[in-house]
Amino acid sequence: MKLGFTPAQERFRTEAAAWLSTQLDDHYSKLRGVTSLTAQPELRREWEQALGRARWSAVGWPAEYGGRDATLAEQVIFAEEYARAQAPARLGHLGVELIGPTILQFGTDAQKRRFLPPIAAGEEYWCQGYSEPNAGSDLSNVRTRARLAQGPNGDEWIIDGQKTWTSLAQFADWVFLVCRTAVGSKGRDGLSFLLVPMQQPGVTLHPIRQMTGDIEFNELFFDGARTAAENIVGAPGEGWKIAMALLNFERGVSTLAQQMSFRGELERLCALAARNGAARDPLIRQRLAQAHIGLRIMRYSALRMLTNAESAQLGRAAFTYKIFWATWHRKLGELAMDIQGPAGEIAEAAPYRFNELTNLYLYTRADTIYGGTNQIQRNLIAERALGLPKEPRGR
């Protein structure tokens, strides 16, 4: 076992840290510490483009598509420095972290050439069309359908249906879509993975307000929406496989960056507890220590997963990662309110703006729901890692 980084890797770290701090001290200083995905969209777009020009947007991608061919260790290092610098949450994260790697792994050369460079350059943005009103935990129940037809510019997919919980659709140029293409098929069979342009008459958006007061996600309605026939990743009928592979990328390098921002949250919470005297309470001290322990363990586990990811040997730790961090984060939100006391409930600005720690309390209720609820995670752990019997379906 070897836990340290090499001198070359440390030089990479210094270079990344220097670039980030220069940018964030100067033109982009208003973006420092911005965790909300919807705040300051114009400046955020500029930031994505600045990252792209300096080749820091998608460091792990091949250089020909706008990346740096960074090794896994270098990707980890960049993610750590990004979070350490309190660089803003990535407007382009769906493109850079999800659909980009998916196209790299499963896409045609033409698709790679068409879609990857604009993602890395911060010029095209993506959203995710997975969940539907009747297909949440049971994603295979999707009903949005697509059929091939002849169009004025060649063969096209015509899409009808509805998606929900689509984050950042209001900023997206493209949506990646799981939909049913084999007529009469049920469940996981007969699904396809399409890439669909957002700006067209057949696609309409309906924003959904969250309990936090923000509008981060949307319903998407497809009514005769169109995309060129070649905008399919994998073959027709392979949609489930591609959709699941994309979800695996969620467990990648960004996990380490996430911990750095969690670290910032915990540090600010500890500072408040020390300031307002809550930290004299032994139970609060125990919970803060436990939060610190959980965060450290997340880091250790992520190092394990990343090591094994390189050797293509994804162990059991990968099954537990999501439920662990989501539950940790939710508990942190509760602790944040206990430490603040009732004062945390007072809005700090009109119409319904709260401080960072109170926002944590509200936002983290979603952490144990999206990306696979805690209940689904436990089913997956029990069935796939422990080999226990699968849940019966209804008849």
Binding site: Q286, I293, R304, N379, L388
Partner: protein
């Protein structure tokens, strides 16, 4: 950056696993527990002399293998899986680090080769008879009486003292606090004034004794290093011991999960395996979440011993608290999910349950370890007791 076993480490794990499956079968563990010192002599000879495992983390210069804390953790994990009774932990994980860190080079050269070769059965006498944790809980006292050093008082919860031929005794000068005034002594159990009082403990797989010191004469050369200077070395040794213990606890927790999962697949009620019920499935899933985290924590702490000294104290406290909680949780759930049979003497579940409790309290409870961590978080002082 490589946080996974090397091929050599995997080999050590596989060898240890086979050894422990053979020597630590449920029948052999029960027989060992019933024997006079609570462990099987042939097994101990195999561990100490044939396999040379007590020296795995000791330098080659004293006859050890020159490997490290990760290899030691691998052995502890496998032994913990089967609750293998033996003085291994006491000798290699408690006493040896104390000697290696506090002893002078000459003392190390005098004491460690016999440990590495399996000839010494050693243990550490640390806490008072209440079992108070850390250096603050040191039970015995060292005083200068008419020019000679005298050891008095008692140490509680000394593991395998009744089988030891070497005691490493932590002492402090009367009135000293914290890291100050602490010495480590090597004492023969049959020395005049030393009385070993074996206790009947809830966990019969790891015998403990109270050791009484009645004005025991301590020659100068029996003090490891300098008098009253061993505080920092002892603290480091305890962090190392904590890391090894965490690995042992990990092994026990994994065994509890494995045994219970197999039971859940086999046991039929209501015409289906009980493991097909979500309440059972989800509880096992939660056990796996904890044990995977425990694995990360225990091996990071072991790596910290070998590679990251600045992180050792924190990593050890993290591993200790998390692995203790994981083991007690998993062992408790093993009883629960086995239903009535989980409550019987004949089933193994209670052995794990009791070992989990005893090891959680051996080097500082989870709550105490968390408070040690809290003290490093710049939280200001805790509320003084009124």
């Amino acid at each position: 950056m490589q946080f996974a076993f090397t091929e050599e480490q995997e080999l050590i794990r596989d060898t240890a696993r086979r050894f422990c499956d053979q020597h630590g079968s449920p029948e052999r563990v029960r027989m060992a527990v019933e024997s006079s010192h609570g462990y099987d002599q042939a097994t101990w000879r195999a561990i100490g002399e044939e396999m040379g495992w007590c020296g795995i983390a000791l330098p080659e210069g004293v006859g050890g293998s020159g490997l490290g804390a990760v290899e030691l953790a691998i052995l502890c994990e496998q032994m913990g899986r089967v609750l293998l009774p033996s003085p291994f932990f006491a000798t290699a994980c408690l006493a040896a680090p104390a000697i290696a860190l506090a002893g002078s080079p000459a003392q190390q050269q005098a004491l460690l080769p016999d440990i590495a070769a399996g000839r010494t059965r050693a243990t550490l006498a640390l806490s008072n008879s209440q079992g108070d944790p850390g250096l603050a809980g040191i039970g015995a006292r060292l005083a200068r009486v008419t020019g000679a050093l005298r050891l008095t008082g008692e140490a509680g919860f000394v593991i395998h003292a009744d089988a030891a031929n070497l005691l490493v005794v932590a002492v402090r000068a009367e009135g000293s606090l914290g890291s100050d005034g602490v010495s480590l002594l090597v004492v023969a159990p049959d020395q005049k004034g030393v009385t070993i009082e074996p206790l009947v403990m809830m966990d019969r797989t790891r015998p403990m004794s109270r050791v009484h010191f009645d004005s025991v004469e301590v020659p100068r050369e029996a003090v490891l290093g300098e008098v009253e200077s061993a505080g920092p070395a002892l603290a480091k040794a305890l962090s190392r011991a904590q890391a090894a213990l965490a690995a042992e606890q990990l092994g026990g927790a994994e065994a509890a999960l494995e045994i219970t999962t197999e039971y859940a697949k086999a046991r039929m009620q209501f015409d289906r395996p009980i493991g097909s019920f979500q309440a059972v499935k989800h509880r096992l899933a939660d056990m796996m979440v904890m044990t995977e985290a425990a694995r990360s924590a225990a091996y990071y702490a072991a790596c910290a011993v070998d590679e990251l000294p600045a992180e050792l104290d924190e990593a050890a406290a993290i591993a200790g608290s998390w692995c203790s909680d994981t083991y007690t949780n998993c062992a408790g759930n093993m009883i629960q999910l086995h239903g009535g049979v989980g409550f019987t003497w004949d089933h193994v579940a209670h052995l794990y349950f009791k070992r989990a409790r005893a090891s959680a309290m051996l080097l500082g409870s989870p709550a105490w370890l968390r408070e040690q961590i809290a003290q490093r978080l710049s939280l200001g002082p805790a509320q003084a007791a009124t």
